[in-house]
């Protein structure tokens, strides 16, 4: 399968089977759209000479396995080895953000923190169920993880100790709203955390409209200097400043650029998942969102060219050294290699399914007691998602987020078309950026 698309005045061909990206002129793009994709495109203006050249180019690429390559259609069963846990170290939060999927930290239950006994049992569960895996992950999540810092620190120490004995390496991540960052927590994070995700929505007025204290005050001024200090001391280690955009800020490119100009060079901005009428994103917003991704793409490239480049998570695409096919096909690991652990030790497929009793899978002491739920997740992969079959993006997005699919379409194997549309636009932007960066690099080398 090929995908022919244009980005402003540029034409691209993405070959799904080989994961190759090509740039072409307009006659070639129109010819391929008409002849290979059956689209109603006028090609009467293309001369016989041009057609001969196009056919010759196409034949050359096909011979090299870079166009029209057969796609992988089968994939071996996934293993039962557990790789990662999302540790809900604290089901409480010192913010009250309106769009919070986690019921402002409480997950529609009581506000509570995980005790050390439970956290240690989670570590033991992970090691015991990790099989031959050498690299294991723990993501400290909430609520707000820093509200239970002592247990978080003790859990890291215990995991390193037990991991050392078992020949396993732990990678830790924390997602935080940054309010409790101080010299001590920054030093701890920089020593122990492989990645830190800091929640910040962008411009102060955008952030403050949603992310509030328990008393209903905006939080931007309370956290910005703390995040800046953290990033300043982070060195080469990974972090993301992560924002959420809603129907209230469809001009979210301004927020990404604002964050970049504040000095953050690793940014992610995600579409909100909420039922709130004034914030939720619907299909009627889609044209504006797609246009905004293009606007962000232009600003991103302009800043890159001016030496002010930054990393925007969704514009990363690595067609040369990206993930292996095994990862691309196996899709999200939730419910099979990845679980969420609630403060009481209960296991769920991931944080987005947390506390939905239908998805209760067991606990860290007894292990998986609902194997039928695990089987459903284990058997799910790109090829069980029928709607993905004819999508050019399938080996890049892997069929999307299980939880997103379930919450919008009632089934983990049915992708939500709104999410798909945003994904495809971001991927096209990422491919254009890849081409533009190569063009810039080659012109610099001249």
């Amino acid at each position: 399968m090929i995908h022919v698309f244009n980005y402003r005045d540029k034409n691209y061909i993405y070959d799904v089977g080989s994961a190759s990206l090509h740039e072409c002129d307009t006659p070639t793009a129109d010819f391929l759209k008409a002849k290979e994709l059956g689209q109603d495109v006028d090609i009467t203006y293309i001369t016989d000479e041009q057609i001969a050249e196009i056919l010759s180019d196409v034949e050359g690429l096909k011979s090299a396995g870079l166009l029209g390559k057969d796609e992988v259609k089968a994939y071996p069963m996934k293993s039962d080895e557990v790789k990662a846990l999302c540790i809900h170290i604290c089901h409480d939060c010192n913010f009250r953000c309106r769009y919070c999927f986690a019921d402002e930290g409480a997950y529609h239950s009581k506000r509570e923190s995980m005790n050390l006994e439970t956290a240690k049992a989670a570590v033991d569960f992970l090691i015991q169920n990790s099989g031959k895996r050498k690299v294991l992950e723990m993501d400290f999540f909430g609520g707000e993880p820093l509200m239970n810092l002592d247990v978080l620190k003790a859990t890291v120490a215990y995991a390193k100790e037990q991991g050392g004995k078992a020949g396993k390496k732990f990678l830790f991540t924390t997602t935080t709203n940054a309010l409790l960052l101080n010299d001590e927590t920054i030093a701890f994070f920089n020593a122990e955390m492989e990645n830190v995700v800091l929640s910040l929505d962008g411009r102060p007025e955008v952030h403050d409209a949603i992310r509030k204290t328990v008393n209903g005050k905006g939080t931007y001024a309370l956290i910005i200097d703390k995040i800046k200090k953290f990033v300043q001391l982070r060195g080469e280690k990974s972090y993301y400043v992560r924002g959420t955009f809603t129907a209230k800020n469809l001009d979210f490119a301004e927020d990404v650029v604002f964050l970049a100009r504040e000095g953050f060079d690793s940014i992610s901005m995600e579409p909100v998942v909420t039922d709130l009428e004034d914030l939720k994103l619907t299909e009627e917003h889609l044209p504006a969102i797609e246009a905004e991704y293009e606007r962000l793409c232009e600003k991103y490239l302009a800043m890159h060219e001016a030496g002010e480049g930054f990393n925007f998570f969704h514009f990363n695409i690595d067609l040369e050294g990206g993930p292996c096919l095994s990862k691309r096909v196996s899709a999200c690991g939730a419910g099979n290699e990845y679980f969420s652990v609630l403060p009481n030790g209960d296991l769920y497929p991931c944080h987005q399914f947390a506390a939905d009793k239908e998805f209760y899978m067991g606990n860290v002491w007894e292990g998986i007691t609902k194997p039928q739920i695990r089987e459903k997740f284990k058997n799910s992969c790109l090829f069980t998602r029928e709607k993905c079959g004819d999508c050019f993006a399938k080996f890049i997005c892997s069929g999307g987020c299980n939880a997103n699919n379930y919450h919008f379409c009632g089934d983990i194997d049915t992708p939500y078309e709104m999410t798909c549309a945003m994904m495809k636009k971001r991927i096209e932007c990422a491919m254009h950026i890849l081409a533009e960066k190569k063009r810039l690099k080659s012109s610099e080398n001249l």
Binding site: Y12, I13, S18, A19, S20, L21, H22, E23, C24, T28, D57, L61, L66, K83, C86, R133, V135, E137, D139, L171, T175, N195, V197, Y240, R242, S266, E270, P271, F313, H314, I317, D318, L319, E320, G321, G322, P323, C324, S326, K327, R328, A331, C332, G333, A334, E337, Q352, I396, C397, S398, C401, N404, T419, M422, M423, R426, I427, A430, M431, K438
Partner: protein, 50 residues
């Protein structure tokens, strides 16, 4: 005219599982596997460059 921009390199390893879970990379809501690199290859390249 068709010009190749990018084509995949032969993979030295497949399915080693050393990469991070997609959900834990940055977003926690809209994961994209293709936004990540093969961490094992990236790490080995870093070692080779040293």
């Amino acid at each position: 005219m068709i010009k190749t921009i990018a084509k995949p390199q032969e993979k030295k390893v497949m399915g080693c599982g050393e990469c991070r879970s997609t959900c834990q990379s940055a977003c926690k809501t809209s994961c994209t596997v293709g936004n990540q690199s093969c961490e094992r290859v990236t790490r080995e390249e870093k070692i080779e460059r040293k």
